[in-house]
């Protein structure tokens, strides 16, 4: 070992001089280079959460359904009948910005390993993506690469990618966001925790050989801002091998469910370093690791490189000596390497050996759990110092042709159908998918009974930029609303908190505000946070992304057959608007698309009203009173109505995914379902809006507000629905009829557009990618 572990070396590895001092204090002098490399990874922002830990304690994390909260590879939630769902979302933003295909692919690989490490069989993958505007060629390249990488990896694993979202805003130009979420199913008694135990047990490495890919991925890449050295960071991106991961899933589930291993941990960020120190720390034991026994792809690797390599598709497990032959037999059957690289000891030290010599000796618990905690003094950002006020609508001249404004919005990249992306994903493998992508939520059945689960992801970054507290609160409410629109009871959250550089007070303020908003909404809606991830340093050349606290939510069905989607079904069905009638220009897609502005005071969610709305909605769906339900989000009421009409045709003339509807379409009998809608005059008088908005028909159509849902109901069921909605504002606004969407107000026609034309606009995303 020739390299010295000086303070200069520490700084090169991403540590600060202060942290170096602290390390010297723990180690009792200058550390070895291996030790220093290990500390640099474990104390990186990505692994240690040093800036976020003090704030994350605000989240509610417990509840009667929570079987495992934050702190493990994934959260685990009871979904009834002894079944549980393991779920987690994780960012792979930085690698994807450097190398989109492999960055996104390995993001999927990593999150899937987190799920099966818990003993769960992965059943769904969701991906929430953010890019800069598509007019930029680089952004199209990133989108194409990221979606291709997700498809490449997820499809090969045989895990359906059923939900997700894609948004485009200039703030993501230098830092795209790739938030990969996965969930798996297991029985309650199959939960495995990543805790080393049993002095003398073997430490066994299973899976791929170790190479030089992903050296410093967590520190160099994920814990720093981007600048002109972006291209030089390419070697820090890992390369994915989904074929090996597929074999790993099968072999590891066999090992875990057969109780052949004591515990298991995947090798993700910081590779062998983090997996071994976390297992030792959680088990309050020591681990001896012989780095020279690790199978290598490149023969001349140094011990520190072996310890921090982020080569993919590797698992670390603790095996009793008497079980080793059985473990080897399973791995051999799946053609996977299985190598004893060390042992569990009572030293409580993480000891690294190289050809017999000890080259690292670190107190495991201090390494894993005692990383520095930093709370940056928060500063309200300059752009919000003068509290934003609701915009003066007079400064926005209303669109004259409202039908054209609607098609323009439908074609806007944030609203347009993302079919181009999700048709590249296998969304049907495993035969659990009940509702295919394109709707409010993904719905899957649980085999062997009537139960089901639903998933949704949400976050409007623009709203979070204008008000991180309100925006984050609204993200939770919207995710829950999306699940409720399908008929599922929201039960738990996993989050991915994407922000800029936390060393800056303004970013830290955004972070604190967003966490507070999320926490309040999670408390009010009974959806504890069971797992999550923080991604800081999403900045390029000093410009931060919009604060983007992504919410991934799980919903449950006792009887999945009650679920509904958002498509208009039958001629004569009645269209009802649930929720408040006021709508705002501030932060809306209309404001961005038509006027090129992002400003104002975004509306606040009334959590009590939201709770009542969703409970009533689920009750109505549970009694099979509703034919469709759709959240009013970007683009307001008019876009929501248009989406219901469009979906009636593109996926097969009615309830899409429904074989009966498919049969109709296939027989050439499918047709569009339009609607005649009379907008209530009340939509024109928006409480809380300044004077002068009266008469803004464009805002009645395209203005946005939380807690609004469009539903359809058979005429004969309208009274029963009315009774269920006693404490929820609601109003009949129209009827499903014809093959056009026609809106009138106070007797005059605002627009009438054939659904086929609406569909053409909505399906136009590929034209922007050519």
């Amino acid at each position: 070992m020739t390299q010295r572990a000086t303070v200069d070396a520490a700084v090169k590895l991403g540590l600060t001089a202060e942290e170096y001092e602290h390390i010297c204090a723990i180690q009792g002098g200058e550390p070895t280079y291996v030790e220093l490399a290990i500390y640099s990874l474990m104390w990186s922002e990505h692994c240690s959460y040093k800036h976020s830990r003090p704030v994350l304690g605000r989240f509610p994390t417990s509840g009667p359904r929570v079987l495992q909260g934050p702190g493990e590879n994934a959260g685990v939630v009871d979904v009834g009948d002894g079944w549980a769902i393991a779920m987690k979302v994780e960012s792979h933003n930085h690698p994807s910005a450097v190398e989109p295909f492999q960055g996104a692919a390995t993001g999927v690989g990593g999150i899937v390993r987190d799920i099966f490490t818990m003993g769960a069989r992965p059943i769904v993958s969701c991906d929430s993506l953010r890019f800069g505007e598509l007019s930029e060629p680089r952004q199209r390249f990133l989108l194409d690469g990221v979606v291709g990488g997700i498809a490449h990896y997820g499809n090969c694993l045989g895990i359906p990618t059923v939900c997700g979202e894609i948004y485009f805003e200039p703030s993501y130009e230098g830092n795209c966001l790739v938030n990969a979420m996965a969930a798996g199913i297991l029985r309650h008694d199959q939960i495995v925790r990543a805790k080393a135990a049993g002095i003398g047990n073997h430490v066994v490495l299973i899976g791929n050989k170790t190479g030089r890919d992903g050296i410093g991925g967590a520190s160099v890449l994920a814990s720093q801002e981007f600048d002109e050295t972006l291209e030089e960071k390419r070697p820090s991106v890992q390369v994915g091998d989904p074929f090996t991961e597929k074999k790993l899933i099968e072999a590891c589930l066999e090992l875990l469910h057969g109780h052949l291993v004591v515990s298991m941990q995947d090798l993700g960020a910081a590779g062998l370093t983090s997996s071994s120190s976390e297992m030792a720390s959680k088990g309050m034991v020591g681990l001896d690791i012989h780095a020279d026994r690790v199978p290598l792809r490149e023969a001349d690797m140094e011990p520190w490189e072996i310890m921090i390599s982020e080569s993919q598709e590797r698992m670390l497990s603790i095996v009793e000596p008497g079980r080793l032959d059985e473990v080897r037999e399973v791995c051999e059957r799946w053609d996977l390497d299985c190598t004893v690289i060390g042992a569990v000891t009572d030293s409580k030290m993480l000891r690294i050996y190289w050809r017999g010599d000890m080259v690292g000796d670190i107190p495991a618990r201090r390494l894993a759990d005692e990383s520095p905690v930093i709370r940056t003094p928060s500063v309200k950002p300059a752009y919000l110092v003068d509290d934003p006020v609701t915009v003066d609508d007079a400064a926005y001249s209303p669109a004259e042709d409202l039908g054209a404004a609607l098609t323009e919005l439908l074609a806007a990249p944030n609203i347009a159908s993302k079919r181009w992306a999700w048709e590249q994903y296998d969304y049907i493998v495993q035969a659990n998918t009940v509702q295919i992508p394109g709707g409010d939520a993904a719905v899957l059945r649980i085999k062997g009974g009537s139960r089901g689960v639903a998933f949704a992801t949400d976050c409007n970054g623009r709203h979070c930029y204008l008000d991180p507290y309100r925006g984050a609160k609204a993200a939770v409410a919207e995710a829950a609303r999306n699940l409720s629109c399908a008929g599922a009871l929201p039960v738990a959250v996993t989050d991915c908190l994407n922000f800029g550089n936390p060393e800056k007070g303004e970013i830290y303020w955004q972070f604190e505000q967003a966490v507070e908003g999320m926490a309040q909404a999670c408390e009010a809606l009974d959806t504890p946070v069971v797992s999550g991830n923080v991604s800081f340093y999403n900045e390029s050349f000093g410009n931060a992304i919009y604060p983007t606290p992504l919410v991934g939510m799980l919903g449950v069905f006792d009887d999945v057959s009650v679920h509904i989607d958002h498509t208009f079904k039958d001629e004569g069905d009645v269209v009802v608007l649930l929720g408040p009638e006021a709508a705002w220009m501030d932060g809306s897609e209309y404001q961005k698309v038509r006027f090129g502005k992002v400003e104002g005071r975004v509306p606040d969610v009334d959590l009590e009203a939201e709770r009542r709305l969703q409970a009533a909605l689920r009750a109505a769906i549970g009694r099979r009173l509703l034919k469709s339900a759709h959240d009013c989000a970007e683009g307001g009421l008019a876009v929501a109505l248009a989406e219901c009409a469009i979906a009636s045709g593109v996926n097969g003339g009615g309830r899409y995914g429904d074989p009966e509807a498919l049969r109709r379409m296939k027989d050439g009998k499918g047709r569009w379902r339009g609607a005649d809608v009379e907008l209530p005059a009340a939509l024109l008088a928006a409480p809380g809006q300044p004077q002068g908005v009266a008469g803004r028909r464009d805002l009645a159509l395209f203005g946005e507000a939380p807690s609004r849902v469009v539903v359809t109901v058979a005429l004969g069921d309208i009274d029963a629905l009315d009774a269920l909605l006693a404490d929820v504002p609601h109003r009949v606004i129209g009827v499903v009829t014809g093959e056009a969407l026609r809106c009138t107000m106070q007797g005059s026609e605002l627009f009438s557009v054939p659904v086929s034309a609406l569909c053409a606009a909505h399906e136009s995303l590929p034209d922007r990618l050519a």
Binding site: P242, F243, K247, A431, S561, G670
Partner: protein
């Protein structure tokens, strides 16, 4: 005294490393009261008495080199080739279809999709020949709506072979639109003459790109049109058993 056990038609689903529709195929077959099913491991050579073999979808051996190109060399494929030579029924779905063409059990090849992207979508399939062991539960001209999901489903074959296949009615399924027309839009991958599924000359080996195993239950999104493919195979084997007994 129990009545004599009903004699089930035995299916074998081959599991290659990287297969990912093997469990879906297994489960799909289990939904038929007249069928039983076993997994067949790629390293084995014993077909466990199977009367019909399913080569499932997925990414066998990672689809490295070329789809299905490595799977054809696996030990189980020797047994499958012998089984097919004896007239046994073999269906290859998606990656299984790719493996069958790589193995020379079916003519032609499967190229990268015309759009150069993986494609997962519902397609309409028109049954072109209903007098085969794989389609006899359909009528000619029937439409089946089943999902395709693949990156290499673009069926290609030389013109001479194609003419022979057409004359011999070996093309069993074609992609069509809702009106039954052979349009380019209905064709998800650019396959020649919208071909979705083909048989060998003796009509006992069949490959198709769409996934009937994801289309056996009305309660999930795939629908149940795919049942007719499996039902045809079951009926065929039961009739063969009657003839020989």
């Amino acid at each position: 005294m129990q009545p004599a056990a009903h004699r089930l038609v035995r299916f074998g689903v081959v599991v290659f490393p990287g297969s990912n529709c093997d469990t879906d195929a297994h489960r799909a077959i289990e939904t038929f009261p007249d069928a039983g099913v076993d997994y067949l491991w790629h390293k084995d050579t014993d077909l466990k008495g199977a009367q019909a073999i399913v080569l499932p979808g997925g990414f066998s051996y990672g689809d490295y080199l070329r789809c299905g190109a490595i799977a054809r060399f696996s030990p189980i494929m020797r047994a499958v080739r012998d089984f097919a030579a004896d007239g046994g029924l073999v269906i290859g779905i998606c990656n299984g279809f790719q493996t069958l063409v790589e193995s020379g059990l079916l003519p032609g090849g499967l190229l990268r999709n015309m759009g150069l992207k993986f494609v997962c979508r519902y397609v309409n399939l028109r049954v072109e020949n209903a007098e085969t062991p794989f389609t006899n539960a359909c009528r000619e001209g029937d439409h089946l709506r089943i999902v395709v999901k693949h990156n290499e489903g673009n069926y290609a074959v030389d013109a001479g072979t194609l003419e022979g296949m057409k004359a011999n009615r070996q093309i069993l399924l074609r992609y069509v639109d809702a009106r039954g027309e052979l349009t380019a839009e209905a064709n998800p991958n650019g396959a020649v003459e919208n071909i979705a599924g083909v048989c060998n000359e003796t009509f006992n080996v069949f490959g198709m790109m769409p996934h009937p195993e994801n289309s056996v239950e009305a309660a999930v999104a795939g629908g149940d049109d795919g049942r007719r493919i499996f039902q045809s195979m079951i009926t065929t084997i039961m009739q063969r058993a009657k003839v020989t007994s």
